[in-house]
Symmetry: C2
Subunit: 535 residues, 2 copies
């Protein structure tokens, strides 16, 4: 096509490669990209009022579709504002294409006010980074970016303004997407040998292995061998609920994770990293691998975890009489696993009375709709959610993969764009919500079916706990006034904030009010927010 | 002192070196720092709900005091969230110490979820970066950080958790602060020669040269030589108002800046960079220096601009009869400058009727109190503010030095902490406000005397303008629906947002309502917000 500029060719290349949504927070250097959106109706540009919302939404979209969305950002500071949620996306192995506008190539040497080291920032999160330097190249660069991203990476394309506005350019064809690498047979055989050893085995599942196929294969293995199953602490997307094999998540707190792993002689990693304490604590080990335990990586990053589990199940659960080789104890465990292979449908009863975190979890467990997508950034308030929702109808659970708070509301936006026919529930701590609160505006503007529950305890409760756990304060020397003033969050009114951003909101101080609010929110289309006021 | 850990020694070193405020957004790895605040009452920790608020507040504090505040951030993602306002602070040459908590030294190799490349991020904004690796070293490192920052840099100290919690450590004495370098005599003589050449000269003032001493020296030079005076487009802190020499700011738009510089044969830079277009535009030059103009750097970064101007004034305005050598035209200009050396006290009348951006500027000009500190991120809506406030009582004007929006509300917080006896006025575009809106909570929590005026035009108006200026849309091909959807900001209610964050708020749709709201806000202590609804 004649007369196409770099931006037009870029966007056509993205849509040709299956990238159909661009979560955007543009500036002047991206104006040709923005204008070009009107010439490519296949690409849906969606405005976010802060870059961290755009990147978090792209993460949510990628987790739910397996295909990259694009995030359009403005120069170095725009990328910087998006980095925290890109960090989470990197840890989630989410496919994601970041397009970072830059000054025109000839303008950079003048050190204009917005000039900064974009490449250094991009490198901190991206598995693939390129600066397009000619309009004729940008489409092919974009095609490579999509292919790279599709392998579970953040691909960052730096787009100078003149490359965007210059001609000639034409779209490039999509490149083949490389599937996850198959796991070599000898690696599977090694895992099988460990499982048949009669020694206690634990399979730690993560990445794509915590969706239904991986879970079912793992459950079959556990049923046949007595292996324990655990899910990584912060899975990108965990399928769970009634009818799915229940796989407990490894606890966040090392002292709770230790008994989950205790006695394991062989730890088999299927899409998960070797377990490590989230933070260091004085005198505590960083690694959570029990002493004397051998670690086997069945499937690492970029490898086909579900496929490896299926092959392993064929080896240990189909052919040889595995249970005859195992100990009596292992046989009993295996039987227990087999009967519990699918979680029964069960929900907690609806509690009443003044709201507590535990009752809030029960309400959510009682009402969680089938097919829900839960964006969970509830932190300490959500400790009871796992058990309260374990038997709810099948749903997806998205967690804070990288620990960079401010993920939940943006992630919910992207998940809702990806799956417009499914209800999205954002379970959000009050402190975390404030990092990217403007995501609510995107919920409203796009009419997304997101129900946000704010767990309002008016505190960075996790830090009040960590303050003691790291030994910085405790019973002997409680936190002083200065320290407390950095952990308390008085005076936030989330119903007012929601109103300011266009989202209908209510406040719940009793379990009944939360249930009523949640029922109404789930019954009506579009976004809602409920401020759950906790003690 | 025995039994002091790294965090305690660090904080004592900071306070000993004059760093008395720490704008904080901590996490687990900073808990010993937080706990240590109670043992050092000289350090005031102030919580911000987002890191960009902490860094922007530290910028505002540093601009007003000339001394660094500290910003306490949590690992790579915390630093990332603070980078945009650190970018602005870097451009403002603000003294600022960033303390970035990191995982314990022995924990880093385990690639825990929050692990990322802090050093790469720090390097993108910092003039000084160090990772303290032993508790015995951290105090001396902190002393160096303060000394480095005091020269107008961002100094970033990366603080591993175990360095924070370990002993032994003891405070380090403050290091001498190096004053700005004096400008060599031959450089001053070269500038004097240019000023005496009889050829048209312009002095472009920036940095510390736009405070009263520099402005008065420059005005004296202009009066004697006929040189034109201009202030850089985005000064960190401009002193202006009645009784101060009026120095127009170089326009943001190149087509408006060109006539300001037209005809200049000698451009003398005093604390400013050579003028450059903020963005590149197709077919337009990046440099704003007129053809055939010679550029003389009288004082660059880190040099004593006000001192150089005073010395230059002594050379050209005290001794030799400069005017006799100048042309008739230059003499006339010099006379005009001399009479206008101090701006007269004058204010616009209070307008009435439906609010417009122009009327809002007039209201602010009519009511701006003496000694006000204006944090200006009003963007397009504030185009009339300069002239409307030029004759208001003396005040400071803080601008968006680096172009990374989301500066205004945090900067106002820091300025108010720095100058508790002065009224702070944040003039804020609606789109920009949304990047760091939680700064309002800090205004409320700290009881800061900040009056925020939101210019609500429900649009990224500057981008609607830039879309045409870059040639991406125009009369022939107006912006389409997709492009417009990325520039419009419907549905924000800033009075509700303010209520949600604890700040009393009102809405003004007429000039009279804005005046009434502003009068009330200025009369009452503590924070207020007025949403000025523009057409």
């Amino acid at each position: 096509m004649s007369g196409m500029n770099g931006a037009q060719a870029l966007i056509r290349t993205l849509t040709g490669a299956g990238v159909e949504v661009c979560f955007s927070n543009p500036g002047t250097s991206e104006m040709h990209f923005v204008a070009a959106l009107d010439s490519v109706p296949q690409m849906r540009g969606m405005l976010c009022l802060f870059e961290g919302v755009a990147t978090g939404a792209a993460d949510g979209y990628g987790r739910m579709t397996g295909r990259p969305a694009a995030a359009l950002l403005h120069l170095g500071p725009g990328l910087a504002n998006g980095l925290a949620n890109l960090h989470n996306a990197r840890r989630a192995a989410t496919p994601l294409v970041t397009v970072v506008g830059d000054h025109a190539t000839y303008h950079k040497r003048f050190d204009a006010p917005l000039e900064s080291d974009i490449d250094a920032l991009a490198g901190s999160v991206s598995g693939w980074t390129r600066r397009s330097l000619r309009s004729a190249d940008v489409a092919a660069d974009a095609a490579e970016a999509v292919a790279a991203a599709s392998a579970g990476l953040i691909a960052t394309l730096i787009l100078p303004a003149d490359v965007s506005w210059s001609e000639p350019a034409e779209p490039a064809p999509a490149l083949p997407v490389r599937p996850p690498s198959p796991v070599p047979e000898d690696v599977i055989a090694t895992a099988a040998k460990a499982l048949r050893s009669g020694e206690p085995c634990t399979i730690l599942l993560g990445g794509t292995a915590v969706r239904r196929p991986g879970l079912e294969a793992a459950s079959q293995i556990a049923g046949a061998t007595g292996a324990r199953l655990l899910c990584e602490t912060f899975p990108a997307r965990l399928e769970r609920g009634a009818g799915l094999p229940p796989v407990p998540r490894l606890a966040y707190l090392a002292e709770m994770a230790a008994p989950q792993l205790a006695g394991t002689r062989h730890l088999i990693l299927a899409g998960a990293q070797a377990p490590v304490s989230f933070f260091a604590y004085p005198g505590q080990p960083s690694s959570l691998v029990p002493a004397g335990c051998e670690v086997h990586t069945l499937a690492g990053r970029g490898e086909d975890g579900p496929g490896a589990l299926a092959a392993l199940a064929d080896l240990v659960a189909a052919g040889a009489p595995v249970q005859s080789r195992a100990t009596a104890q292992a046989r009993a465990t295996a039987q227990a696993w087999a009967t519990a292979q699918a979680h029964p449908a069960e929900r907690p009863g609806l509690p009443d009375g003044a709201l507590t975190a535990e009752k809030a979890s029960a309400v959510i467990g009682a009402l969680l709709p089938e097919g829900a997508i839960v964006s969970d950034e509830s932190n300490t308030s959500g400790l009871g959610l796992g058990s309260a929702t374990a038997g709810a109808p099948p749903h997806d659970w998205l967690t804070l993969t990288g620990g960079a708070i401010g993920q939940g509301l943006p992630l919910a936006a992207g998940a809702a764009v990806a799956c417009p026919d499914r209800p999205v529930i954002a379970l959000e701590a009050d402190g975390s919500a404030m990092y990217t609160i403007s995501a609510l505006w995107t919920h409203a503007r796009q009419g997304l079916d997101v129900t946000t529950v704010i767990f309002s305890n008016r505190s960075y409760a996790i830090l009040a706990m960590e303050l003691e756990r790291v030994g910085a304060a405790g019973e002997a020397a409680p936190a002083g006034k200065a320290a407390r003033s950095l952990l308390d969050l008085p005076g936030l009114d989330f119903t007012a904030l929601a109103a300011g951003l266009g989202v209908p909101a209510s406040r719940a101080t009793t379990a009944g009010e939360l249930a009523a609010g949640l029922r109404q929110a789930l019954a009506e289309p579009g976004p809602h927010l409920i401020e759950a006021v906790l003690p």
